[in-house]
C-alpha cells in the first residue's frame, strides 16, 4: 500500500470526527439524559390509566377530537366511572398547566412538534 500510514491516520481522524457527537454526548453525560415530566396537580387520577396515557395520549386526543367535533359527544367516562369534559384546553391543561415542564419535556426530547398549539391555547404559566 502506497502511503499506508497517511491513509490509516486519515481514516482514524475521519472516524474520530464523524463519531465526535457520540463521544461528546457520552462524555458530557447527555447520553444518560431521560426526560422527567413534572406533574403539578392535586388530582390523584388521570382520565385513563397512567401507562395508557404515557403510551397513547395522542390516540386518545385524536379520538376526543373526532368525538367532540364530528359526533358532538363531549364527555369522556374514565375507568372509575367519573365523567370528564373531552377537551384538551379545558380538561388536560387544567391539571397539566405547566406545558413547558410536562408536554414539552418529552416532546422536545423525542423531537416531535405536535400542532395542537397552532390553534389551541396553552395555559399561561405562572412565572
Amino acid at each position: 500500500m502506497y502511503d499506508g500510514g497517511k491513509i490509516i491516520a486519515g481514516l482514524i481522524i475521519f472516524l474520530a470526527l464523524i463519531t465526535f457527537p457520540i463521544w461528546y454526548n457520552v462524555a458530557s453525560g447527555k447520553a444518560n439524559y431521560r426526560p422527567d415530566p413534572k406533574i403539578v396537580t392535586t388530582e390523584k387520577q388521570c382520565v385513563e390509566d397512567v401507562s395508557y396515557m404515557k403510551a397513547s395520549h395522542m390516540d386518545l386526543l385524536n379520538e376526543w377530537r373526532d368525538m367532540v367535533v364530528r359526533e358532538g359527544h363531549r364527555t369522556h367516562t374514565a375507568p372509575s366511572g367519573r365523567k370528564f369534559e373531552a377537551s384538551l384546553s379545558n380538561t388536560c391543561m387544567s391539571c397539566h398547566s405547566n406545558k413547558s415542564e410536562f408536554c414539552d419535556e418529552c416532546h422536545d426530547y423525542m423531537g416531535v412538534t405536535p400542532y395542537c398549539w397552532d390553534c389551541h391555547i396553552e395555559p399561561k404559566e405562572g412565572k
Binding site: R65, V69, G72, K83, E85, S89, C119, I121
Partner: protein, 255 residues
C-alpha cells in the same frame, strides 16, 4: 343478627368508599352540570332577526363584539384580511333583490345583521373536498372541523352570502385578549359562525343572542311548534336572504 367486628369494618369501609366515589362524581357534575344532560337540543336550530329593533340601535355592535370575543375572531385593519362571523352589512347588499328604487329610506340606508344562514341545502358543504364542513343531521347546524380544513376556499366561493372568512394571516396577531377555553384558528383555514354549538352543548344560548339587549335575535327549534321562533314566524311576516337560490336559509328576518 349480631354484627361482629369484621363485618362492621367491611360495611363501614364500603360505605366510606361509595360516599367518596359519589362525592367525586357529584363534584364533577356540579362544576359542569351539562356533562350529564348534554346541553340544549333541537331538531332544527333556527334564528329570527328583528331588523326593526336592530335599526333603532344604530351603531350597536353588542352581538358582534360578544361573538368575536368568545370565539377568538381576529380583527385586522386591512379589509382584505377581515375575518367575521356576524356583522352588519348595508341593506342593499344583504337584500339586493328585495329592494327597489322607492324602498323606504330608513330601510334602504340601514344596515342588516348577517351571519351564516345554516342552510338546509348548504352549497358550501357540497363543494368541500375534505368534509371539513358538513351539515349536522341531528340539528341542522352547518359545522366546521378546523382540523380538517385545507384552506382551498371552495366553500368561500360557493357560499352566496359571504358568510365565510379565510385566514390570510395568523389570526393570533389580531386578537387582543385570547379566550383560553376556545381555540383560535391558524393561517390558511376558513372559519364562520357555528350557531355556538359549543355553547349549546353546555346549555347556553348563542353568544350573540345572549348579548342582544333589544331581544332582536331569537333562537330556537324550528321543528318545535311551541318554540318562540315558530310563534314569531307564524305571527310576523318574515323574509330570508336570496330565497331563489334554493339554499333554504334558516335565518329569518323581520324587516
Amino acid at each position: 343478627m349480631s354484627v361482629n367486628r369484621r363485618s362492621f369494618l367491611k360495611a363501614a369501609g364500603l360505605t366510606t368508599l361509595s360516599l367518596a366515589g359519589g362525592k367525586a362524581l357529584a363534584s364533577e357534575s356540579l362544576k359542569k352540570p351539562w356533562i350529564d344532560s348534554g346541553g340544549l337540543k333541537a331538531k332544527r336550530w333556527a334564528m329570527v332577526i328583528d331588523l326593526s329593533k336592530c335599526r333603532e340601535q344604530e351603531g350597536c355592535t353588542a352581538c358582534t363584539d360578544a361573538c368575536h370575543r368568545v370565539h377568538n375572531v381576529p380583527e385586522f385593519e386591512n379589509e382584505k384580511h377581515e375575518v367575521k362571523w356576524i356583522w352588519k352589512e348595508p341593506f342593499h347588499n344583504a337584500f339586493h333583490e328585495q329592494e327597489h328604487e322607492y324602498t323606504r329610506d330608513n330601510i334602504k340606508h340601514s344596515k342588516a345583521l348577517v351571519l351564516c344562514n345554516h342552510c338546509d341545502n348548504p352549497p358550501c358543504v357540497r363543494v368541500c373536498p375534505t368534509k371539513a364542513t358538513w351539515k349536522r343531521e341531528e340539528d341542522g347546524i352547518v359545522m366546521m372541523d378546523w382540523h380538517r380544513c385545507i384552506g382551498c376556499r371552495y366553500c368561500v366561493l360557493a357560499c352566496p352570502y359571504g358568510s365565510r372568512s379565510f385566514n390570510w394571516r395568523d389570526p393570533r396577531d389580531g386578537i387582543d385578549e385570547v379566550q383560553e377555553d376556545f381555540p383560535t384558528r391558524m393561517k390558511g383555514v376558513v372559519e364562520k359562525c357555528t350557531f355556538c354549538e359549543e355553547r349549546l352543548a353546555k346549555g347556553l344560548m348563542p353568544a350573540c343572542v345572549e348579548a342582544c339587549k333589544e331581544h332582536a335575535l331569537i333562537f330556537g327549534d324550528l321543528d318545535d311548534p311551541e318554540s318562540e321562533v315558530r310563534a314569531i314566524l307564524k305571527e310576523r311576516y318574515t323574509i330570508r336572504r336570496k330565497p331563489a337560490l334554493g339554499t333554504e336559509p334558516e335565518v329569518y328576518y323581520i324587516v
